[in-house]
Assembly symmetry: D2
Homo-oligomer: 348 residues x 4
């Protein structure tokens, strides 16, 4: 008997990834779909402009798309809504007692809402206990980070744990799938770089510090390091590549950093969560790696791949990190959050 | 009566740009071409795999390609050779009394060889007086920077002049034309980012400091700031985009930096060199600019376009700079060097 | 004293090309702009998302965008509207006495409306005399073909004139700029081919036959050959490439076809219309030509480039033709139509 | 106990696909690798520039690369050599008693060499009995078609069987991976179409007729229809898309053709060969399908996807077909050939 789950925003790019990733999931089964009014009442196959290279699961193709109202819905809801829609809709579901496990940015920085990468700060889920919905009827909102923050933080977490991060520079080269569909116009990106993504630098800077922060006395104390981000869009379909420089509190040798990455394991690996990659962080020693085309799918798209660790003239170390922006950086992130929440007793 | 010039490495991508840019040049006329042995004796049209979107000038198409030997060649030689070939061949031409104005990296960091962007450090040409060839028979080697350094330095120079640069972070997203032809394989770059370009980070770091250095007592004193570079290849045809962060010695307001850029003029503009852009640095205030597709050809490919000036959490300011890598970053750079050398009396 | 002209649909991709091409036009000057209500009252710079790689002409940037109403507008109107908007708006301007020279498909196949490529069937403009608007007050609608028809017809016309075309197969590989902006989503075309463009095959088939038809007794008799088209979208910015096979009525030798192409001249060339290319059809004998990247801008984007003429196993001959879809295939086509209309006395 | 197999040309793109596809194959195990002299003695990981997005299988990574000499090699050899190398090397292996199952074009059109798609003309393998090597010691050469022929023939075969094909027009849009590595230069294909692939049109035309020919009295009688091909390269990584028009001997209704495709099964499906797709030909009824990005991996890259069946003005029907050029069109084709050869008793 699998746990029935619903998907808010099921027709968009992240919604499609939810459906793809939850097909054959050992614990969860999609039993309810919602999207915008335009789609309401249509079958999923009619409503969605499916853009993945595996077919729509047949069972889901025939399901009806519902209005985004918490009425007889499953108690576990994955959400892939625009921030503005999420702001309005997600609290209604939490208020109705649902576990809203969301990829939206709307509540990520809210003080009572956990922003979690299971390998990094799964203990932040305890914030849920403070949510008024949770006290009332068990409902809550739990979030995963922005697609550009997730790869960076996975690479930083093992280093931060051992050596303390003191400063971070990051320049991203982000894939077009991060902008949804239709998203980036082809005339804007063919043979081009766009050196701007709305609100992305701000999210990347603030979410990184919350994710690597500590839960003390019921509040997250953001990590104290400084971080400066520059975000660019490039002509890549899937996979955000990031050039990173870091300053550390304690001196770290090259081997020590490599060891920190390669030995990095956490609860998702220890308890064997279904979506957890065996190796959350993979170091590729190739001189020109990681690359989206070659490395984005490692760990079924759930591993971050790092490479090119070398000294920095200005800070201490430089490296490149790559992660799959719609799997590890969106739908897969939420599914793994759900798995850890279940493991930690947050499913009722 | 135009000055006859020769081109070493005439069949490659930069050689082709030389031919395109020198067609209809008011001062210079291509009268001699050389390439590798394979091409020797063929007409240029037969030897070159022409990759520009204007036709081969008819006069040049019929010219014979010579061996790279300084025998009855013009006294002004533009060079577009691989570093290893340049190391061997360029001194022979200088020794034969030729002005070798080269895009190659072979001698850029040599202490007696000027590495020049005319708007930035044209006074460094005085190093030529120290070259033994020059003393002997007037020959010399003068170089322009790497394609990734040139846009950065054009953006930094006006700021450095007014406020003093203390630290620089730069992450590049470089076009494939910078790798020559055939250069980057399509399988390596379609839908991909390659986070590595051989020797590029080193060149970018060391050339930037020499270019912004000062000539004192017959030697270049490199600029003292620290610089850290990360270089990436992206699926762009022409135009290197760079995300830059800088720390300044003196506090600068946003308007002051914008003013430094927009008012930046130098000898090439003052004396009206034919290839000099009216505005060496153009600030584009669009929220998502500069972009290769839209901005790479400004000033006939000789202007650097900057945008997105904003505060940096770690250093002082962040911005993006774009320049055309095979015009301002290669052939056009050498042509402008030649024009300033002529203006400054280095043509005999 | 230049002739003042207006542009309907000035903010779209074709509208932008009109503005670019009419800047510095010797006969015409843009004096009035209209776009959708959303843009009304804004300056052009505010209203347009400019996507060309030359800047907005300064004079135009400051012009106000008007409602699309024929009230005190210039008497010459270039139109770049969607077919549905054109159907409603263009007759109003014709009815107000304007020469509506349009790129829209709305009236192309109307029996009294000329569909013209000046080099091919300029005599079809006589249809204007039959338009009721023209009889009333001199207003009329004159159209140019679809961007995919224009290159094909330019390649076919000299052959048809000499040898008679009996059957045509054409498979197109069309650039994204043909779909306007935002047009094709990047997720749909990066690393992809889309084997469908709405209504394109129908337009290409029917327009080709009208263009190569004859005006007899006040009506166009379509060319009688059969034509079958398959249209694909590819990841190219500008330039439609077409693989063509043809059957001829009379036997033609290879040299005769090449001669027909290279000697092809028509009234626009004879009278020296400003936008007419010297060579409407250019044969490139390179084994792998024409190519969009190398050949799309020949004749300032107004020439069609053909190549690879070779025997066909099924019909008689095969070849490839390329033309610039937003210059020769859209805005430039209309400008050249306007020039011929003026030359032929259709401007009052 | 799996059957040991060797790979000739193991380091190239098709060689890499062999290794990827044979990993975990239920019948075969790679036990020997050969490549050019340059690689000899190196481990496979050192010798190959691996370009697939799954890692090199660990066991293979450590294997030594051998010279291409049939000395103690496995009796089953997969070959992915250049035609010129194949011409020389493959007969040596056949002469040494090996089953040479090759993707090379060198012997495809030889009268005693079978050119086979298992679903289409598996009976042609009987030609092997006539090969002198086979008579001598059991060795032979068996080939699969060119990557552009295979999708076309899979789409044609069910129609040809039921209605008889009388004429075929095909225009291809081929992926860059078909050209090997480094293959197509990025400067040649970014934002471009190349309307030429050396010898491709000839191969496509002649192989199609041999594949759909009949074995009579120990010789293949080529299918008698006429076929005309035009081949283009586009900026796609994997997947050849082809626009096809056909004339049939007997009248076929739309539903009949759709039924012919959907019901198409053959020996590989009947006997359950491991690499055989359940559905060799999949019809996608979407208005804009098939597309490489969405459809290339169906049937693990072994299915051909067709779409857009519609009447043709010139012949009878038009449609689009897509197939994976390095799986179904190369390595997967050879593996499936090997499976059928084993099934048919051609392994000793």
């Amino acid at each position: 008997m699998k746990i029935p789950v619903g998907i808010l925003g099921a027709t968009g790019m992240v919604g499609q990834r939810f459906i793809q990733l939850l097909e054959d999931h050992p614990w969860f089964e999609v039993s309810w779909l919602a999207a915008s009014e335009r789609s309401s009442g249509m079958t999923y196959a009619e409503a969605a402009r499916w853009k993945l290279n595996t077919p729509i699961p047949e069972r889901v193709a025939k399901m009806r798309v519902n209005d985004a109202v918490p009425d007889g819905t499953p108690k576990v809801i994955f959400a892939a809504l625009d921030a503005s829609a999420a702001k309005e809709i997600e609290p209604k579901f939490a208020d109705a007692g649902c576990a809203v496990i969301t990829n939206s940015s709307a509540f990520r920085m809210h003080k009572d809402v956990p922003l979690v990468i299971p390998e990094v700060n799964g203990d932040h889920f305890k914030l849920i206990d403070q949510q008024s919905w949770h006290k009332k009827n068990g409902g809550y909102i739990a979030t995963n980070p922005n697609c550009s923050a997730i790869g960076l933080v996975m690479a930083l977490a093992p280093i931060h744990r051992h050596f303390g991060v003191e400063a971070v520079f990051v320049t991203t080269m982000q894939a077009v799938s991060g902008a949804g569909y239709p998203g980036v116009a082809s005339l804007d990106i063919l043979g081009n770089v766009i050196p701007y993504i709305a609100k992305e630098e701000e999210k990347l800077e603030e979410e990184t510090r919350k994710l690597l922060g500590e839960l003390r006395n019921g509040a997250i104390q953001d990590a104290s390091f400084k971080i400066s981000a520059q975000c660019n869009r490039v002509a890549v379909e899937d996979g955000h590549t990031e050039s990173v420089s870091i300053k550390l509190k304690r001196i770290a040798k090259e081997e020590e950093i490599l060891e920190a990455w390669s030995s990095f394991r956490s609860r998702p690996q220890d308890v064997g969560l279904p979506t957890a990659p065996k190796r959350p962080v993979i170091y590729n020693s190739g001189i020109d790696r990681p690359q989206p085309r070659l490395d984005v799918n490692h760990g079924n798209g759930m591993s971050a791949t790092v490479g090119r660790l070398r000294p920095c003239n200005l800070l201490d170390w430089k490296f490149t990190v790559l992660s799959h922006n719609t799997i590890r950086g969106a739908a897969g992130a939420a599914v793994l959050n759900a798995e850890l929440l279940k493991e930690d007793g947050y499913f009722h």
